[in-house]
Amino acid sequence: MDMMERLMNLDRRWLYLLVGLAAVIPILAPLNLPVNVSRPVQDLFDRVESLEPGEIIMVSFDYGPSTGPENDPMGDAIILHALARDLRVVVIALYPLGGVTEAREELERCVGDLDPPNGQIASERFPDKVYGRDFIYFGYKDGGLAAMRLMSDNMHEVFPADFYGTPLDEYELGREVQGYDNVAFVMSLATGIIGEWWANLVNAQFGTPVAVGCTAVSAPKYFAYYRAGQMFALLAGLKGAAEYEFLVSQKYPQLAQITDSFIYNAGKGWDVQSVVYSIITLFIIIGNVAFIVERRRQKRGM
């Protein structure tokens, strides 16, 4: 067998090995591949920068563990950015399968361990931030659309208590948020359709500004909403997450104290994705070159 043929019929396990390495190496040693910040991502960053300190944003965790690698870093970046800007953050979860744990894990990753019912409310990582005043976690609510409609002016009916079971009225921030009017915008971190609901219902009916962080697979659909102006910003997949993370880390280098301990972030995920894509693309090209050369040779041989 000559080289071209061997290339064409390469044992697939070599390819597996490369893909495997491409997934492990960037996690341990970041490659810091370039990110070009795109318009929809810059829009989110600019909006957060334009808010006055003390304004409230709402972050909704509308995804489960299987898309964690894409959505988790978006949640981290928006929470860190908001707190670094002295905005206040309300976290909720609407995704039935695991949204509730995702939200708690990412919140604690950013602010440190919490145990509000037992009095542990001060953030370890942001010394001047306190649970219930600067950030709060309302917990999970089922019912999707119905819950979102009700939240518009009856937040406390949807979430009578926070995640830890304390009535919302016992917290300053909880008292203040009665509906969408009290928040500057809603950011939905979405796997599937819930992000579309935020645009279709909450933005369309109540005029609340909405931004979405979606998975790459659903990005084209969401991009259409962004273009139609139904969401003011869009983070699409690992790429969008990495761009936003990059903007935040540039502007707030002090956050590195927190983020340096993260084994995983969107930048690393983006490295993995780019490398794997490059490997596959390269192999497709090699395969085709070999194929064409081989075919030519066969034709000439005849």
Binding site: V24, P69, I263, V272
Partner: protein, 221 residues
């Protein structure tokens, strides 16, 4: 961390590596993991079916109704239909087991047929009825081309699916175009889906590095 969590992490890592080893080749570790997987998952769904379906929908309302609510005797019918499935093990009355299958299939066939007509055929066709004379359309050539591509794409793919005409002449040409549209769609969707698959793999890698080997402050659960 308590012992239970540590043990779960180590077992989880072991099973993760067992499955990954299949990429190299079939081996006893994979076969072991595959068997455990089949068994555990089946056990899981047995528990799940009882917990999520039988107990709330059958046991509680029929056998142990909460005080003050009457027994729902009508649930004897589905219970009976469920039992009928098992008559197949008794040769003489095995044919009775078809009753349950027939009702089940019939019911969902009716539901699905309506769902397909109402939820797919009508709205998808309606979405294809577009105007080429919208305000500004002719000034925006890009938009106009997009509209044209949508309409031609939908129609040519539909023509490809015509079974009563041979793919010759004009119909052959249009259906060839339909195939090209299908190929664009398949190629693009394939290339695009890779992204989602990569993030699943990242999830596993982080599990191994962070939770098992204990490096770093994790992300993905």
């Amino acid at each position: 961390m308590d012992f239970g969590t540590v043990a779960a992490t180590w077992l989880g890592a072991f099973f993760t590596l067992c499955i990954l080893s299949f990429l190299y080749k079939d081996n006893p570790f994979f076969r072991f993991a595959e068997s455990v997987f089949a068994g555990v998952s089946m056990g899981y769904y047995i528990g799940n079916t009882f917990g999520q379906t039988f107990v709330p929908n059958l046991v509680h309302p029929l056998f142990t109704p909460p005080a003050g609510t009457p027994r729902e005797w009508i649930l004897v019918i589905p219970l009976l239909l469920g039992f009928l499935l098992y008559t197949r093990y008794i040769k003489k009355v095995a044919w009775v087991s078809r009753f349950s299958l027939a009702i089940y299939v019939g019911y969902y066939t009716g539901v699905n047929m309506m769902q397909k007509l109402q939820g797919e055929v009508l709205p998808q066709s309606a979405d294809t009825i577009l105007s080429f004379w919208r305000a500004g359309t002719f000034t925006n050539v890009g938009e106009w081309i997009s509209l044209l591509v949508v309409v031609v794409g939908v129609l040519s793919v539909l023509v490809y699916f015509f079974f009563s005409a041979e793919h010759k002449g004009a119909i052959g040409g249009v259906s060839r175009l339909g195939i090209w549209f299908l190929m664009v769609s398949f190629g693009a969707a394939f290339g695009y889906t890779i992204m989602g698959r990569i993030s699943i793999l990242i999830g596993r890698v982080i599990f191994l590095i962070n939770q098992w080997l204990g490096i770093g402050n994790g992300g993905v659960a």
